[in-house]
């Protein structure tokens, strides 16, 4: 027991924790399904807006309903699963304020893993489910000439998308190590980012594109993979291999965020607040 804990063990523990918490929530079956249903219902508005727009218009920046729906589906799935895996991050700010964050540091787990597992809820499955439905709809509307490289792209796309949103939700928590005010500005990047990733990037102006490609790289997680799957030329004129930038930039982004998290923990451990 004196050995330091390995990442694999941490993941195993996190998995077991999720299992127990899920069982706990399933005990209140009605409430459980109501939450998932409520989440589904809430996010239904997003889908409704998509269809209503295409009821009046034929194309959006030259893209058809099916093509935009593809972006919607990918973004919704990545966002909701990223959110699902980091629900605990929401409670970091209140825990710091109440002093309960000390708890996180008295346990034999890494601080991030511990904070992330401090809360668990499946309600975001409602949105994920909707993403799957929208994606399914998109696939009936667009022609994709499947090939091995495209098939390989799909898991990479989802994993980097989920990781990116997990990192974004972590940023919100990182800020709360220093301040309680104005943290909601991050919403522009989390919620704003997921909304933005539901549309083709070329319709946005230079400054938004810059922010959402190179600072918060959500543009890379739906737009380039979708172009690649659809074999559309990039109206922004970027080369084909840009599709590979998604995972690379996400990795860099996650590394920066994890550095930021460690700085936050260091700050907390030196000031206790």
């Amino acid at each position: 027991m004196d050995k330091p804990i390995t990442l694999r063990e941490e993941l195993g523990i996190a998995w077991k924790i999720a299992g127990i918490r899920l069982r706990g929530q399933m005990a209140y079956r009605t409430s459980f399904w109501l939450q998932i249903f409520g989440n589904f219902f809430t996010n239904f508005a997003e889908v409704l807006a998509l269809f209503a727009m295409f009821y009046q218009f034929d194309t959006l920046g030259g893209w058809t309903l099916g093509e935009v729906a593809l972006l919607h589906g990918i973004s919704m799935i990545a966002f909701s699963l990223g959110d699902l895996l980091t629900v605990g991050m929401d409670s970091v700010a209140p825990q710091i304020r109440s002093g309960d964050f000390d708890r996180v540091l008295t346990r034999p787990l890494g601080s991030w893993m511990n904070a992330a597992t401090s809360e668990f809820s499946l309600r975001h499955l409602g949105q994920a489910l909707q993403g799957v439905l929208v994606l399914g709809f998109a696939l009936t509307q667009v022609e994709i000439a499947w090939s091995i490289d495209k098939a390989l792209l799909v898991p990479v796309m989802f994993i980097s998308g989920i990781a990116l949103f997990m990192a974004l939700f972590t940023i919100e928590a990182i800020f709360s190590f220093w301040t309680v005010n104005g943290v909601e500005a991050i919403n522009a990047f989390t919620y704003g980012g997921s909304d933005l990733a539901q549309f083709p990037m070329h319709i946005f102006g230079r400054s938004l594109r810059f922010i959402f490609f190179w600072i918060v790289p959500v543009g890379f997680i739906t737009y380039y993979p979708a172009l690649y799957l659809l074999e559309k030329p990039d109206p922004l004129g970027m080369p084909d291999w840009f599709v590979l930038l998604g995972p690379v930039i996400t990795t860099i982004f996650c590394a920066v965020v994890s550095w930021g998290w460690n700085q936050g923990i260091r700050h907390y451990r030196s000031t206790g607040s």
Binding site: L48, Q56, N181, G182, A185, G192
Partner: protein
């Protein structure tokens, strides 16, 4: 006394400077994003073509009005009354020699007035800097719009007030919360201009009170509706919503008395 309450809520709002700046930033990012999306819909249309009554420029103006009014009108969860029910202060409030509905309404109007200044006007100015917006064509329309905003806030308040009382029955407001989001997001016209929806949905939303929260003020601004028509529509729905709020409050009060709080 209610004026005093309103004044105090008004002043309170100016204390949250950081939150205000963060909120303005968020509203602006969303404003730019949504404007870009809407403009992209008009790419293949000739200049000045209107779709379901909206030209591209009008749609962008609608977007920024929507962002500017998000905070004053409140289009999502607001559970302050439910919170006082949970903490128990509601009993004290009910016992005070005052009108419970007016107590909350006056505070809410004060808050809204402050947020028109701190959030509404700046957001609209940012929108005007970045995009070419449509402005009301006459001073009468400006005046009518200014009158229509408090109506919008009041209708929104009544909706929130009733949702809170309902939450009081269910003790858990998470379920209603999602209904609330759809009602005030979709039904008010905040998500998309109501005219864009397919006929059955559009017709339904047009006869519901919730369009007074945003769509009617926007139409007054854009000149899509006559001033008299727009304002009288809002006046009518405001009256109905206030009446409904009082009716529900009476039932709720009786329940509080029976339960002894």
């Amino acid at each position: 006394m209610y004026l005093e309450l309103a004044k105090r809520s008004f002043q309170q709002q100016f204390a949250y400077r950081a939150a205000t700046l963060a909120g303005l930033f968020t509203n602006s990012v969303f404003g730019v994003m949504l404007s870009s999306v809407y403009l992209a819909l008009y790419w293949d249309k000739a200049d000045g073509v209107s779709v379901a009554g909206f030209t591209a420029q009008q749609t962008v103006t609608y977007t920024w009005l929507g962002q500017a009014l998000i905070m004053p009108v409140v289009f999502w969860g607001w559970w302050l009354i439910v919170d006082t029910i949970r903490t128990g202060t509601v009993v004290m409030d009910l016992l005070k020699p005052m009108d419970f509905f007016r107590f909350w309404l006056s505070r809410d109007l004060g808050r809204a007035a402050a947020q028109v200044i701190t959030r509404g006007v700046p957001t609209l100015l940012i929108g005007a800097l970045l995009f070419d917006l449509v402005w009301p064509e006459s001073w009468q329309r400006w005046a009518a719009f200014l009158i229509s905003v408090p109506f919008a806030v009041t209708v929104s308040f009544c909706l929130r007030f009733m949702m809170n009382l309902w939450g009081f029955w269910l003790l858990d407001h998470r379920g209603i919360s999602s209904i609330m989001l759809v009602v005030s997001g979709v039904f008010s016209g905040h998500l998309l201009p109501i005219a864009w929806y397919p006929a059955p949905i559009r017709d339904l939303l047009n006869v519901l009170p919730f369009r007074s929260m945003l769509m009617t003020p926007v139409e007054i601004w854009l000149g899509q509706i006559s001033i008299v028509h727009g304002l009288s529509l809002q006046l009518f729905w405001t009256t109905v919503m206030i009446g409904a709020s009082y009716a529900l409050l009476q039932v709720a009060e009786r329940k509080v008395v029976v339960q002894g709080g």
